[in-house]
């Protein structure tokens, strides 16, 4: 018995659990009867009724309602949530950040990223097309973690039902719309810069 309690203490930890006293259940018929009487005429049943009635009142007239009227209302999702990817832009120029390094394509364990790149007029590598096959993506977040440019991240778009399971998402679909540039948020999940990144890096000397 004691042992169990000790165990219980340990399980209890710091959380506010209430331990039920299961030590004496009714043994004789009379005990059982007494228990029924006690439970019937004690407060328990009525407390139950009161609680439900109260909640009904507060739901109807107060703020008790817990239902989120999705899709009219949406819950904010955690910044680390891994939903459909976003392709971020550079805040200064509005250019897309992706440099076409192909690391995401390489690391993707579902092998669902594909990209086409080319040499553009400005002698830069241009990402001419980029897709993720969301029929295969498992939202593991590796692509976001590996991206050296913080370009591909997970966004909050989780409503991805579509007629075609294997429908593609193209670069334009994922790219942050340029008019929403000011609303662009950095991703906090895998691959984000750690808050003390500066302390962990030794600076390369510069001759200027």
């Amino acid at each position: 018995m004691n042992e169990i309690r000790k165990e219980d203490e340990r399980v209890k930890g710091t959380q506010e659990y209430v331990l039920l006293d299961l030590s004496h259940s009714p043994e004789t018929g009379f005990d059982q009867f007494a228990q029924v009487v006690k439970r019937t005429f004690g407060k328990e049943l009525f407390v139950g009724l009161w609680v439900t009635l109260r909640e009904m009142g507060s739901t109807l007239f107060g703020k008790g309602k817990h239902t989120v009227s999705y899709p009219l209302e949406k819950m904010p999702i955690a910044p680390r949530y891994r939903a459909i990817h976003d392709m971020l832009r550079l805040l200064e120029s509005g250019n897309y950040r992706c440099i076409g390094c192909g690391l995401c394509e390489k690391i993707c364990i579902s092998n669902c990223i594909a990209m086409d790149t080319k040499y553009d007029e400005n002698q830069r590598k241009e990402v001419s097309e980029y897709t993720i096959n969301f029929g295969r993506c498992i939202f593991c977040g590796y692509c976001a973690e590996v991206c050296p440019e913080l370009a591909i991240v997970h966004g909050g778009r989780y409503e991805n039902a579509s007629e075609q399971r294997a429908s593609f998402s193209l670069f334009e679909d994922m790219l942050k719309p340029i008019d929403m540039l000011t609303q662009q948020k950095e991703f906090d999940g895998f691959g984000a810069v750690s808050p003390n990144a500066d302390e962990n890096i030794k600076k390369t000397p510069l001759a200027y």
Partner: protein, 336 residues
Amino acid sequence: MDPLLIGTVLKSIIVLSIVSALAGFGTYIERKVLAFMQRRLGPTHVGPFGLLQIAADGIKLFTKEDIIPSNANKLIFSVAPAIAAATAFIAISAVPLFHTFEFTVPVINQLVIVPSVIADINIGILFVLGMMAAGLYAPLLAGMAQANKWGIIGSSRTAVQFLSYEVVTGLSVMAPIMLVGSLSLIDFNNAQADGVGSWIVWQQPVAFVLFLIAGFAETNRTPFDLLEHEAEVVSGYATEYSGLRWGMFFIGEYANMITISFLLAIIFCGGYSDIGFVAGWLAMLLKVAFFFFLMLWIRAAWPHVRPDQLMWLCWKVLMPIAVINIVITGLVVMLG
């Protein structure tokens, strides 16, 4: 043609349609009330406040494929739901729902007297209880006919539950019957016509509580919904049912709830007599609504009991109390 027959048929049709509509509405109310009690919203999308959800469900039930399992006893399997619905409605036929209506037909200028009860039989209360008890064949047969283990368990639970509770139901109304001295429900109503003070519930609180509890069992509502408790026996006797047949069980259950609510109001709470300025029909509606609500409320608040607890409660607690109550009432009646 016999005007009585015409009247009865007309009334049957009206009551049948209203009660079945109400049964449907009852599902809506139940979902709403339970939702609110659980801080949810319940149906909201179909129609204003989700009211048309009933219609949607109805359409669904009507159009759903009617599956009869290949190993089932087809005849019994198809008849059982009809028993459930039929007995529930037949039971209502002997329940006086409101005052007798009296009105003058404008054109022919003739006074028409329409008693609200379809069939005023002088053993109304026995008939109603008997009919409701006969309803137990529905789950019993349904469960056994469907060749499904959950159905069998549901059936056996039915047997257990009804055998137990018919006793309590019968014994508990015995005392009020002794007081009123009649088995006609109209007499019950008339016996309590002198306002709230004359309600039998004050004289027979124990009988009231016992009847209430038995009523829950009769309609297999929580806490006595053993027959089809999802968490234990999938859907019990209704496991293999789908579509309209399943819907008939459902309607039967809700019709029974309405009947029980009426019975409670008439036997213990003054029936359709006026209460001061509150018209009798309104008082009746309010009472019925309250009892109906109570059933939902309790479903939201209380857990259900195990079959063994149920029997224990019935045979070892309620029945003795009922018997004692009858004895005491008998003594009082004899001595008084």
